[in-house]
């Protein structure tokens, strides 16, 4: 047990629990580092999907291209929703670290969950609109790569939402114990990572597509 006033070394990138919970701080080292490594492989996966997308932007096979299909307003709203969810998750992390208050933490997580689910809802309605226009993934190489890139992100957010749900239950069952904390630490990194990936999608797929 370390005296809570001596500063502890940072053990990994991102929010460390540090002096607020020295034991969990140490226990988190391997787990969070491992999660960063996993995200590395996930980042490679997204990078490749981006690369495939970029090579296929013009492979519209006579069908509609980015400029005809995308609209700035709904995607901007999606983006803001997802960014807001990152903010609420940031609050959740700070509550976990400094307040250690289960109910407040749950409120922040429920807020994140609601935002996350709304994001998914917006995307589904986006896809539905495209489908109604006949722009289905089977139409062209461009649309295949667009759908797969965006829905891979979608599936990630969906798993993030399920993960939040599970953590909400675990918070009620176990309280804020070491395991729950280290899991929330990793969930937080995951959530922000998905935000960053979305920013790339927003920029390279939507903004550049509409340019």
């Amino acid at each position: 047990m370390t005296n809570s006033t001596t500063p502890l070394p940072r053990l990994y990138p991102g929010m460390n629990l540090g002096e607020t919970d020295p034991d969990t701080h140490e226990a988190a080292e391997e787990l969070v580092f491992g999660f960063w490594v996993f995200l590395m492989s996930d980042a490679v996966l997204f990078a490749l999907l981006f690369a495939v997308y970029e090579t296929m932007v013009n492979s519209t096979a006579g069908g509609p291209g980015a400029a005809q299909l995308f609209h700035l307003k709904p995607t901007l709203i999606e983006t803001l929703v997802l960014l807001a969810s990152s903010f609420t998750f940031g609050m959740a992390s700070l509550i976990m670290k400094f307040k250690q208050h289960v109910v407040l933490l749950q409120i922040a997580l429920i807020g994140t969950l609601i935002l996350g689910v709304s994001f998914l809802g917006f995307e589904i309605s986006d896809f539905a609109k495209l489908t109604r226009q006949g722009a289905v993934p089977q139409l062209s190489g461009f649309l295949s790569s667009f759908y797969v890139l965006v829905s891979t992100h979608f599936l990630h957010v969906l798993s993030g939402c399920i993960w939040i749900l599970v953590m909400l239950i675990q918070l009620s069952v176990f309280g804020l114990d070491e395991t729950v904390k280290t899991r929330l630490l990793r969930l937080g990194i995951f959530w922000h990572f998905l935000d960053i990936v979305w920013i790339f999608i927003f920029t390279f797929v939507y903004l550049l597509g509409l340019l």
Binding site: G34, V37, S41, D42, V52, M56, S59, A61, G141, S144
Partner: protein, 686 residues
């Protein structure tokens, strides 16, 4: 053949027609697969071993058990793939101006399964198994960082292997080669289920390896014993670290390639189709962004083994430790910069080809450094020609030949002449067999005494070595000639009488290799029979230098009763030199170890069901499999009771028994390592 539109909600496209009754050879293989499976089940039942297998092996999360299971899986798959190789060789030998005994479709499946198995289900599990077993011991750790994840990786790989075995009985497998290039493997040209088998078995292996990579990186970075700096780590651990990092970067391209191919096939998308904006070059780039690093993923662990073996059996520290590490790292980095050399002929500009050709040649430099380091390690050493060293020496010579033909191939104009011929087949077997498989066999023979507590029979080890080496030269040198004469690879039939003698020699060589494989089997059998005369329970049969040799053989579950403090390279050698190799501890602390977990096997079975369902379009099975995987993970996350404690009494008891063996052991000199007097205690010399 069934019509493509046939589909039944319960069995998807699966019908009794899937059993390959139309070919004698295929029926034989199917019968062997069924008999093997049934026989194993009957034997386990007769001996009442189900509970033992479940609680001691399947659910075990001990890195040592998982390592052993990986190697067992790999040896089973090696046997199948070698048999397939022989069938290919026999077919080609008898099919000059003649159709031979195999139908083209069947021949296509054979080279596809041979290649796929050898890469994904033989060499990958083999090296993963060795790394799993050895690395935690070498770095003074009690387990890997994520033991349950480790078990999941194992069972994902096993599920992939199961699919390939199932395809023998419920045929067919893909005919698209181990590379599975579209558009040939697209739904338009390959509407059957064969390619599905290939996609899902490879995807399972790929995901399993990604998880292994994550696990190993964290293990090596975070779980080293106190004082073990990176530059103190044994070479095998170093190569494992490089390989783990490479897995993180190289496996995702494969996953993406197979996933997109699956989307093309199942959902009618247009990633790699020849119309509607599809671009098959994307597949080829993705595949080789995995494929080239992959060849170094499979070769670097063997380099690690050889580094250990040369040092140990020359009784010397490695020559050029640092340069070996730098060379390993250089190879790892360069291996991501050369993938285009696999398709020089596919239309990019001459300048691009030149750049990738030069990058390829550069890899020869660090590899050359290594070769010299190993030779200089032997120079003036006290060399003993025990089996592992024999493989290492055969590697040294043979690998250089393979490397030189690789340099030839890296010159685009030469590649244009010989690409897609058996010259290429000769080249890559010439590097893979000595460079990777021999390394794995050497590692298996080197660490076997550690894992099981007795040495392998030396005589049969030598016989196996002679058969494999001679067989290799006979089987593959003719292919260089045939390639230069223009024989295309993957030919079911050829029309040049002058090919025939070379093909006959190659066939004989492959039979000799089969003899080598059988000798390895006999060696294991004989060694088990005579194990009482070869026990090395004290733990150090070869006068080893690294930490894995400082434990009993086999090591206790917790590896180290007290974590060692490391002060330099070759820690066990240092301890022996200072005369305190086996310190008696006065007090022990209880040790926390992870409990067994059924999560790995559950996910393995569920993902096999998921993928089998996908192969045959049995949707309900796929959905059930997916649901079970998700549910199992969530249920597991609520389990708070995942650790157990090994009590001080248990540790004292285990340690006392080992120290009694040590006290009774008579040290032997290095020259006596293959006689019964060697009970695993080495006499200290220099």
């Amino acid at each position: 053949m069934i019509s493509n539109s046939y589909w039944n909600p319960w069995f998807g496209k699966l019908t009794l027609n899937a059993i390959p009754t139309d070919s004698l050879v295929a029926m034989g293989a199917a019968s062997i697969a069924v008999l093997g499976a049934v026989g194993t089940i009957v034997l386990i039942t007769v001996f009442g071993k189900w509970r033992y297998l479940w609680s001691e092996w399947a659910t075990s999360v001990d890195h040592k058990r998982i390592g052993i299971m990986y190697v067992v899986l790999s040896l089973v798959m090696l046997s199948r793939a070698v048999i397939e190789a022989i069938v290919i060789r026999l077919q080609q030998a008898v099919s000059v101006n003649h159709s031979g005994f195999l139908a083209p479709e069947h021949f296509g499946q054979l080279f596809t399964t041979h290649g796929t198995i050898m890469i994904f289900f033989m060499i990958m599990p083999f090296l993963t198994g060795l790394i799993n077993y050895v690395v935690p011991l070498q770095i003074g750790a009690r387990d890997v960082a994520f033991p349950v994840l480790n078990s999941i990786s194992l069972f994902l790989t096993a599920a992939g292997a199961f699919l390939i075995m199932a395809s023998l009985v419920l045929a067919p497998f893909s005919t698209g080669g181990w590379t599975g290039y579209p558009p040939f493997t697209g739904i338009e040209f390959n509407p059957g289920v064969g390619v599905n088998y290939w996609i899902w078995s490879v995807s399972l292996a790929s995901i399993g390896s990604t998880l292994t990579g994550i696990n190993l990186i964290v293990t090596i970075y975070k779980k080293r014993a106190p004082g073990m700096r990176l530059m103190f780590m044994p070479l095998f651990t170093w190569t494992s670290l490089c390989v783990a990092i490479m897995m993180i970067f190289a496996m995702p391209p494969l996953t993406v390639a197979t996933a997109l191919l699956a989307l093309d096939r199942y959902l009618g998308m247009h990633f790699f189709t020849s119309g509607a904006g599809g671009n098959m070059m994307n597949y080829i780039n993705l595949f080789w962004e995995f494929g080239h690093p992959e060849v170094y993923i499979i070769v670097l662990p063997a380099f690690g083994v050889f580094s250990e073996v040369f040092a140990t059996f020359s009784a010397k520290a490695l020559y050029g430790y640092t340069s070996l590490i730098v060379a390993t790292m250089a190879i790892a980095v360069l291996s991501f910069t050369v993938w285009v050399h696999h398709f020089f002929t596919m239309g990019q500009s001459a300048n691009i080809n030149a750049a990738f050709g030069i990058a390829t040649m550069l890899i020869g430099i660090p590899t050359g450094v290594k070769i010299y380091d190993w030779m200089l390690t032997m120079y003036r050493g006290r060399v003993r020609f025990t089996s592992p060293l024999l493989w290492a020496i055969a590697f040294l010579v043979t690998f250089v030949i393979g490397g030189l033909t690789g340099i030839l191939l890296s010159v685009p104009p030469i590649d244009f002449m010989v690409h897609n011929t058996t010259f290429l087949i000769a080249h890559f077997h010439n590097v893979i067999i000595p460079g990777s498989l021999f390394g794995m066999i050497a590692g298996y023979q080197y660490w076997f005494p550690k894992a099981f507590g007795y040495r392998l029979d030396e005589r049969w080890g030598r016989i196996a070595f002679v058969c494999w080496t001679a067989g290799f030269y006979l089987a593959f040198m003719p292919l260089y000639v045939l390639g230069l004469k223009g024989m295309p690879r993957r030919s079911v039939e050829t029309f040049q009488s002058s090919f025939e003698p070379w093909l006959l020699v190659a066939a004989v060589g492959s039979l000799l290799i089969a003899g080598g494989l059988i000798s390895l089997g006999i060696q294991l059998y004989v060694s088990i029979r005579q194990r009482d005369r070869a026990r090395v329970a004290a733990g150090d049969p070869w006068d080893g230098r690294n930490l894995e040799w400082s434990t009993s053989a086999p090591p206790p579950e917790y590896n180290f009763a007290v974590l060692p403090h490391i002060e330099g390279r070759y820690p066990f050698y240092q301890m022996k030199k200072l005369g305190h190799a086996y310190p008696q501890q006065k007090t022990y602390q209880p040790i926390k170890m992870p409990k067994n977990s059924g999560l790995g096997p559950t996910i393995g079975v569920a993902s096999a069901a998921l993928c089998f369902g996908l192969v045959w379009y049995i949707w309900w099975l796929a959905i059930v499999g997916t649901a079970v995987i998700i549910a199992a993970i969530i249920v597991r996350s609520f389990n708070r009771n995942t650790m157990r404690v090994i009590s001080v009494e248990d540790i004292e008891h285990t340690e006392a028994r080992w120290h009694a063996i040590l006290a009774a052991a008579v040290p032997v000199s290095r020259d006596q390592e293959n006689v019964p007097a060697n009970v695993g205690l080495a006499e200290f010399m220099s």
